[in-house]
Amino acid sequence: MKETGVWVLAWRRFKRDRLGVASLVVVVVYAAVMLAAAGGLIVRDWGDEAGVSFAPPTFLGPEAESPQLAQMADGAQPIADYGIPDPLAPDLAAIAKTLAGSASGNEARALTLPLGGDKWGRDVLKKAVKGTQTSLFIGLAAAALAAFIGTLFGALAGYRGGKVDDLFNWLYSVFTSIPYLLLVLSIAAVVNSKGVVPVILILGLTGWTGIFRLIRAEYMKHKVREYVMAADAIGASNARRMFVHILPNVSHVVLVQLSLHVVLFIKSEVILTFLGFGVGVDTVSWGSMLAEAGSELLLGKWWQLTTATVFMALLVTAFSLLTDAMRDALDPRLK
């Protein structure tokens, strides 16, 4: 039997969008990299000090006076923190010490690395790949959490209306009265623990409001549609109308929002981590790479910044283009 459901039709439209398909391929490759890194198939040795400190990218060739620069980098403070000591400095120093201790001499250290090395001589390419695992996972998991909460609340509020709607709207207005990043930072400040799971919870539990509003509007629109009234007429229960009848008809909105929020949360993670509220120092993410890259840039070491930026920009661009393509494919009237 030839299947011609709405999703199949959308997929057919999507397949004609070359930019969309290319984006999908990029996203799938990233996801594969994420899974491979998480499963330990690749870049298990990202923390090894494979090269000399700030080993330049291979295509630039080795640098003459690298040890001195490393010295300078050790001493260099991130640009003016207004006289407040970097709260991470002791942790970093401790980690640097253990890492230095574990490294067995300098004889094996390469002078160049494929895309250069960081202060401790870790391979920037491997860090970026490992960072993909962290950042993409945080984006996906937080977006899934936010989409779940937003959809559930939105469905209840939009479908039930009345007091239930008032309650959820109150919750919504409380959460949106506080600007998003301020809310995230306040929660980060009190939670005061670092790691992948806290970041996912912080982003997911604060980021549901936009989805809630859209889904609520969709439910309000759909619940008076004739197909839902027809379901009422044949005796379908409220729960059945909400989740069996309406949900599939708004699922494309959820999907598009989900992928928009993946992008949003990947960017948020970068900022959180940069500010020291994100993943811990023992984890590498694009945020932690960019955090290191700020001071490196002043020393002329641009490769970690560039690598992390390109890794992130490629995924986020692909994700955004994919979202656009999905929206066009799922809702052709918009075009």
Partner: protein, 562 residues
Amino acid sequence: MNLLEIRDLSIRFRLDEATTVDAVKGISFDVPVRSSVALVGESGSGKSVTALSVMGLLPKENSSVGSASRILYRDKDLLKARPGELQKLRGAEISMIFQEPMSSLNPVFSVGFQIGEVLRKHLGLTGRAVRDRTIELLQEVGITEPERRLDVYPFQLSGGQQQRVMIAMAIACEPKLLIADEPTTALDVTVQRQIMDLIAGLQERHEMAMLFITHDLALVSEIADHVVVMRDGEVREQAPASQLFRDPRDAYTKALLACRPPRDRRPKRLPVIDDFMGDAPRGDTGERRRGLSGSEPTLLEAKGLAKSFYFREGWLKQRELKAVKSASFKIAKGKTLGVVGESGSGKTTVALLVARLHQATGGEVRFEGRDLLKVEPKAAMPYKRRIQIVFQNPYASLNPRFTVGQILAEPMLIHGIGADDAERHSLAAELLKKVGLPPLSLEKYPHEFSGGQRQRIAIARALTLKPELLICDESVSALDVSVQAQLLNLLQDLQDEYAMSYLFISHDLAVVRYMADEVMVMKDGEVVEIAGPDELYANPQHPYTRLLLSSIPGRAKGGAHA
């Protein structure tokens, strides 16, 4: 002398990279000076697209006009005109009014500003002169207190007034040609009558030529000198109006004329397009008897049915909107109660109350002696099954994510009809056959069907529960007339077979007269008159009923004034 000559016009639309549609396929016709030409056709015939192409308003990004096409206005090819030249013509010599007056007016500019814009642009009027002329125009299109209406925004006007403003804008520069694209389709029948009279009067007074686009042959008979019938992008027939109505040549034109319920007779079966186009045998042409003898048992009786909607307003205030003030009626077993009324009359609310899709705020609905409105929701399930409803919009009433099979199986599943999936499947297939669809349709999704087919599916869904009362809320109104006739025939056959009662709601008086054994007229939430169809149409008691009946198109001039 011809004002407008269309030659070999073909228009193609690009839907996406892979698909194109030929909306208009090489048509030719003329609009002579000072005469009115009607372009008639059902949806998808290409009539509106043709009108837009004359104005040069086709969407540039996805449409193209064939290279051999010419649109000659006073011997000048508009298709080759520069944008600047077209702008000088548009609104000045050729102007247009549209179907949806509400969305066709800019919502954030006042009425005076929007009319004044035309005067400034084409006549170079300024200041006081613009104001004076605008007031004059508003007066001419029958808007009362025009000085006060200048600063009013479109949303503050009724649909009829909005269309009058559109007309004022169109005639502001005394155009030679007025194009009217379904100008009354979105309006109530009494308002339609007023607007038609206005347009006809203006055309005569200003000696305009008119291209009138419509799906409604009855309207055409009132206004047109010359008729062009279109179907699927082709011209089927063109002739002077008097000749076309008296002696149609083309099979499609004949079918179109025949498939509307006639005013004077009640054939057992309405002729459909296939009767004329193919070799299928003509339908049974015997007459059907309507009306109640008075001895039929009552299936359902509503007494003082009322529904109010409440809107929050101000601090703790509530605004009450009485959608239905008080409605009392009886529906006889196996018979049809027709309900007519204009928008806002409360006829749809009555349907939803009877089907228990809305909670009534007053009155009672007696069904087998029990007041349905007092039955607890849980206990109401068996009653729910026996009263089913078919809605107006065929595109919204089927869940787009369900297959037809799922749509038909769901009610049986909920009410425990059929032992297993296999049995329900075969029951569904049987019902599909009954409504005239192949069993293969079970695996398909609603979007693969036309509007008429979707209504058949909706009817089949209602039939799965073997209802005793089927409510048809404008169920055929959104369909083309040829499809309407098929659906009416189907409903009739089903009633004959299952002896169902119908609550048949429509704004279309001709259809209600054809279908109903008793007719109820509603206005502003109240029942103003209930009577047998022939009696009501022949001898209306209430003034509103008389107004409604006199507004039916095709009665006033009765065809030829050419």
